[in-house]
């Protein structure tokens, strides 16, 4: 049980949730959030780590259905239960890195950029984000990367010159991540994608989140959510 420090609507339906406490986790991992303290709804919602601070953890989430709606009604001071961190997170990288996010896929890239910037093995962290309606947290993004590019309503992959980078980390709609994986394959640049799946346990026991990969079925919650794009998409 953690206490909510903030649950603020940034723009319509997009919220920043901050929970007090010392939490662990690396970029690209997620937590399972129980949106209410009653047993309803039964399942926790998987949400990526947005940021870990010294005394809190932050999540950036969008209200899309009943669970996130209930979560959005929680107030400062309410207690909430979360479990995690789960999943593999983004792999260690080197050189010039591009982070590409679409929609709520932006969420895990903040902590990712924050962790990569001071990394001596990493030279460049370019952040590309595609939003559908409006940019959020513009100043924050700028601060955690080498260069920040964004687009509203368009196709963010159009802006990314894949061949300029040593590795690409991405999260967003399948169509975006597939496109990137294609470009990456052509250019010989590894593209890592963070994918979504409906989950029950979140820890690898129920097989609800199985996804087909080149190497057979993998669990999104445990073997993922980050995979090498070409192992997931038929590119």
């Amino acid at each position: 049980m953690g206490m909510i420090l903030k649950n603020e609507e940034l723009i319509k339906d997009i919220f920043m949730l901050e929970i007090e406490g010392k939490y662990e986790g690396k970029a690209g991992q997620f937590y399972m959030i129980k949106v209410d303290n009653t047993p309803y709804p039964l399942l926790s919602r998987p949400v990526s780590i947005f940021e870990i601070t010294s005394n809190s953890i932050k999540f950036l989430y969008k209200v899309v259905g009943e669970g996130t709606k209930i979560l959005s009604e929680k107030k400062k001071g309410d207690s909430i239960s979360i479990r995690g961190p789960y999943g593999n997170g983004f792999p260690p990288v080197k050189g010039k890195v591009a982070l590409v996010g679409g929609g709520m896929g932006a969420a895990p890239l903040y902590e990712t950029a924050k962790q990569l910037m001071p990394d001596p093995e990493v030279n460049v962290v370019d952040l590309y984000l595609g939003f559908s309606h409006e940019i959020i947290l513009e100043d924050s993004w700028r601060k955690v990367c080498s260069s920040f590019f964004y687009d509203i309503g368009g196709i963010i992959t159009d802006y990314v010159d894949v061949s300029k980078y040593d590795v690409i980390l991405s999260c967003g709609p399948d169509i975006m991540m597939k496109k990137l994986s294609e470009l990456g394959k052509k250019a010989g640049v590894p593209v890592y994608v963070s994918i979504e799946s409906h989950m029950a346990c979140g820890i690898g026991a129920c097989l609800a989140c199985s996804c087909q990969t080149k190497y057979g079925n993998k669990k999104v919650c445990k073997d993922g959510p980050v995979f090498l794009g070409e192992d997931i998409y038929d590119v």
Binding site: P39, Y40, P41, L42, L43, S44, R83, H198, M199, A200, C201, G202, I203, G204, A205, C206, L207, A208, C209, S210, Q212, G216, N217, K222
Partner: protein, 300 residues
């Protein structure tokens, strides 16, 4: 003093709480959260003779206080289980129940036979999975097919045999009696209830197979009724399950006549549920001065 031990088909369980097949993997993931050795036993993910990839498409959908799953028996196959998973399960030092699915009598028999010289405690014959296209639940719908299969399996297995019944049976009591007559050493029920969901925006069924299996607290009142009906009709012991969320629910199933209870969906809701249910039962026994669960089993 307060003894939670239960004898089930001549096997002693240290307490009545068993993890349900398919919801607990082979225990490993939950063992990172608590010592799963405290459980009475673990029923393995449903195994088939050969490895199965399971169903494609969406596999899980949440419903009001329930979940519908269409996993489709994804599993490593009997051989892989024996070499890679079973040794790990042994470390927990509780009862190991091997849950077996199949699409033909031959497949069931070969799978069960393979365990004859393997050190496990019990076979749970799953004739009730609604998520595979051929077989499995088909055997559990009618007493004739169920009885026939159980008889054959009983003949060849060296392990105690329990049969997992389907709530989709035409008459679950008749199927239960047929399994008893065919030599089953115990029964477990219920498996998931055949259910459906529609994605109205895309005008498509949520699941590729259209129908899938409902579990969780939503079905508890139905499961409890079926367990009660079956316990009143057979002499062999029963493992009751379906929507158990806490120790109170567990006690309801025991009062309805179950020897053991299994917990499935609740593991997803609260991964420490197994541990908590065991201590809840223990505390209840203390408060009520119940020395053995025999005192309250089947009192309804």
């Amino acid at each position: 003093m307060y003894d939670m031990k239960v004898q089930f088909a001549n096997i002693e369980f240290k307490n009545p709480v068993v993890a349900a097949s398919g919801t607990f993997g082979f225990g490993e993931e939950y063992h990172e959260i608590y010592d799963v050795g405290v459980l009475g036993g673990i029923s393995s993910k449903g195994l088939t003779l050969s490895k199965k990839a399971g169903n494609t498409g969406l596999r899980l959908w949440e419903t009001p206080m329930g979940i519908i799953n269409s996993i489709g028996l994804e599993n490593p196959g009997v051989e892989n289980f024996i070499s890679n998973e079973l040794p790990k399960m042994k470390r927990y030092r509780n009862r190991i129940i091997v849950n077996i699915g199949g699409s033909s009598e031959e497949e069931y028999i070969s799978a069960v036979e393979r365990f004859n010289d393997v050190d496990i405690d019990m076979i749970e014959l799953n004739i009730s999975c609604p998520n595979v296209k051929e077989g499995c639940m088909a055997f559990g719908i009618h007493e004739d097919s169920a009885g026939r299969l159980v008889k054959k399996v009983k003949q060849i297995t060296k392990h105690p045999l329990i049969v997992k019944l389907s709530p989709n049976a035409e008459n679950i009591v008749k199927v239960a009696c047929a399994c008893e007559d065919a030599g089953a050493d115990g029964l477990s029920l219920i498996n998931t209830i055949k259910a459906m969901a529609i994605d109205i925006n895309n005008r498509k069924p949520v699941f590729e197979n259209i129908y899938a299996g409902l579990s969780g607290p939503a079905i508890k009142p139905i499961a409890l009724r079926m367990v009660h009906e079956v316990c009143k009709s057979v002499k062999i012991p029963v493992m009751g399950m379906g929507g158990i969320m806490n120790w109170q629910d567990a006690i309801e199933f025991i009062m309805a006549g179950a020897h053991l209870i299994q917990i499935g969906t609740v593991n997803f809701v609260n991964p420490e549920a197994g541990k908590e249910i065991i201590s809840g039962i223990e505390a209840f026994m203390k408060t009520e001065g119940i020395k053995s669960l025999d005192e309250i089993r089947g009192i309804i």
